[in-house]
C-alpha cells in the first residue's frame, strides 16, 4: 500500500523514461538540471523534465545528445533560445529588457520605505508641534478627576 502510494507520488515528478537516460551518471545529472530549466512550450508551465509532451521528449533527447557530444550548458541554452526565444528558459535571463522584472521588487521596496519614513516623520511632527492649549488641559484634568471619583 505504502509502495503503491510512493509510486503514485513519484510518477508525476519525472517524465524522463528509463531508455532516455544517459549511462554516465554525471552527464545524466547535468541533463536533468538543464531539463528542469527548459520550458515545455506545449504545456507551458511545465519543464521538459516534467512534461510528457512529444516535443518535450524530443528536446530531452536533444539535450542529452548535445551533452554527450561535449556541449556546455550555455551552448545548449543558447541553441534553444536561438530557435524558441527567451520564453523557453524557465529562469528569465538578466538583460536590458528584463531589468524591470529583476529590479522591480527592489524599486517597490525603496519606494515603500521612503513613504513609510515620510509618514512617520509627519505624524511625529504633528504630535510634537502642538502642545495642549490651556482649555484642553483644564478639560483633561476635569475628566481625570471625574474618573477618580467613580
Amino acid at each position: 500500500m505504502v509502495a503503491l502510494g510512493c509510486l503514485i507520488y513519484i510518477q508525476p515528478i519525472m517524465a524522463v523514461e528509463p531508455n532516455e537516460r544517459l549511462a554516465d551518471p554525471l552527464l545524466e545529472e547535468r541533463a536533468r538540471m538543464l531539463s528542469q530549466n527548459i520550458r515545455c512550450l506545449v504545456c507551458q508551465n511545465q519543464s521538459i523534465d516534467d512534461s510528457n509532451a512529444t516535443l518535450a521528449k524530443d528536446l530531452r533527447a536533444l539535450v542529452r545528445e548535445k551533452l554527450t557530444a561535449g556541449a556546455t550548458n550555455d551552448e545548449i541554452f543558447d541553441f534553444l533560445v536561438d530557435r524558441y526565444g527567451d520564453f523557453i528558459l524557465l529562469n528569465p535571463p538578466f538583460k536590458a529588457s528584463t531589468y524591470l522584472l529583476w529590479y522591480g521588487p527592489l524599486i517597490f521596496l525603496i519606494v515603500g520605505l521612503l513613504m513609510t519614513v515620510l509618514v512617520m516623520k509627519k505624524s511625529k511632527r504633528r504630535a510634537s508641534e502642538k502642545p495642549l492649549s490651556q482649555e484642553e488641559r483644564v478639560s483633561l484634568s476635569k475628566l481625570l478627576e471625574q474618573k477618580d471619583e467613580t
Binding site: V42, Q44, T54, D58, L59, D82, R83, F87, K122
Partner: protein, 182 residues
C-alpha cells in the same frame, strides 16, 4: 512632494491594470508565442522529399519569391481544419505553398493527401522532428511566411483561417510584393 508621492501607488496600480487588461480586451492568446526566427534566415535543413518521385526543397529553393511553409501531419486534427484554406491558396495561386510533413508515417501522409487533396507545390518529410526544432515549431500546424530573400517574416501557430489569411498574412505579403516593385 509629500502629497504627490501618495498618488504614486495609484498611478502604478492603474498602469499595471492597463498593462494586463489590454491583452484581455484584445482577446490575444498568451499561449501563442512570437517566433524567434522573425527577420532571420530560414534554417538550412536537408530533408528528403515526401514523394519519392517528386523533388523536395531546401532553404535555397525558398529564394526568389514569397512562400508559405506549412508544417502538417496526418495525425494532427487542426491540420484537417485548415486544409480547405490551403487548398484555396493553392487553387487561387495566392502564394507559393510548400509543406513540411512533421513526424509522420510516409504512407499515412500520402493517404491523407490523396483523400483531402494536395495543396503543396513541394513537400519534404521531417521524420524525427529535428528540422522542426530548428524552425522553432512547438505544435502543428504552423505556417511560416518567407520573403524572397529567404527570411522568416511571420509565423502563425494553429490552423489557418480565412481571417488569419486576410488580416494577418495578406497585408504582409502585399507589403513584401510592393517592396519588390520598387
Amino acid at each position: 512632494m509629500a502629497k504627490t508621492i501618495f498618488v504614486l501607488p495609484f498611478l502604478v496600480f492603474f498602469g499595471v491594470v492597463t498593462y494586463f487588461i489590454i491583452p484581455i480586451v484584445k482577446k490575444s492568446d498568451p499561449k501563442l508565442l512570437p517566433s524567434a526566427l522573425i527577420d532571420k534566415d530560414v534554417p538550412e535543413n536537408k530533408l528528403p522529399p515526401l514523394f519519392e518521385n517528386k523533388t523536395g526543397f531546401d532553404h535555397e529553393d525558398l529564394l526568389g519569391g514569397e512562400t508559405l511553409v506549412n508544417f502538417f501531419s496526418s495525425w494532427c486534427g487542426p491540420c484537417r481544419v485548415e486544409h480547405d484554406i490551403l487548398m484555396k491558396i493553392s487553387e487561387e495561386k495566392t502564394i507559393r505553398l510548400f509543406g513540411i510533413n512533421y513526424k509522420d508515417q510516409t504512407q499515412a501522409a500520402i493517404r491523407w493527401l490523396d483523400e483531402l487533396g494536395d495543396p503543396f507545390e513541394k513537400i519534404v518529410a521531417d521524420k524525427d522532428g529535428r528540422a522542426a526544432i530548428d524552425w522553432g515549431v512547438y505544435g502543428v500546424p504552423e505556417t511560416y511566411l518567407i520573403d524572397k530573400e529567404g527570411k522568416v517574416r511571420y509565423r502563425h501557430v494553429g490552423p489557418l483561417t480565412e481571417r488569419v489569411l486576410e488580416e494577418k498574412l495578406m497585408p504582409i505579403i502585399q507589403l513584401l510584393r510592393n517592396k519588390k516593385d520598387e
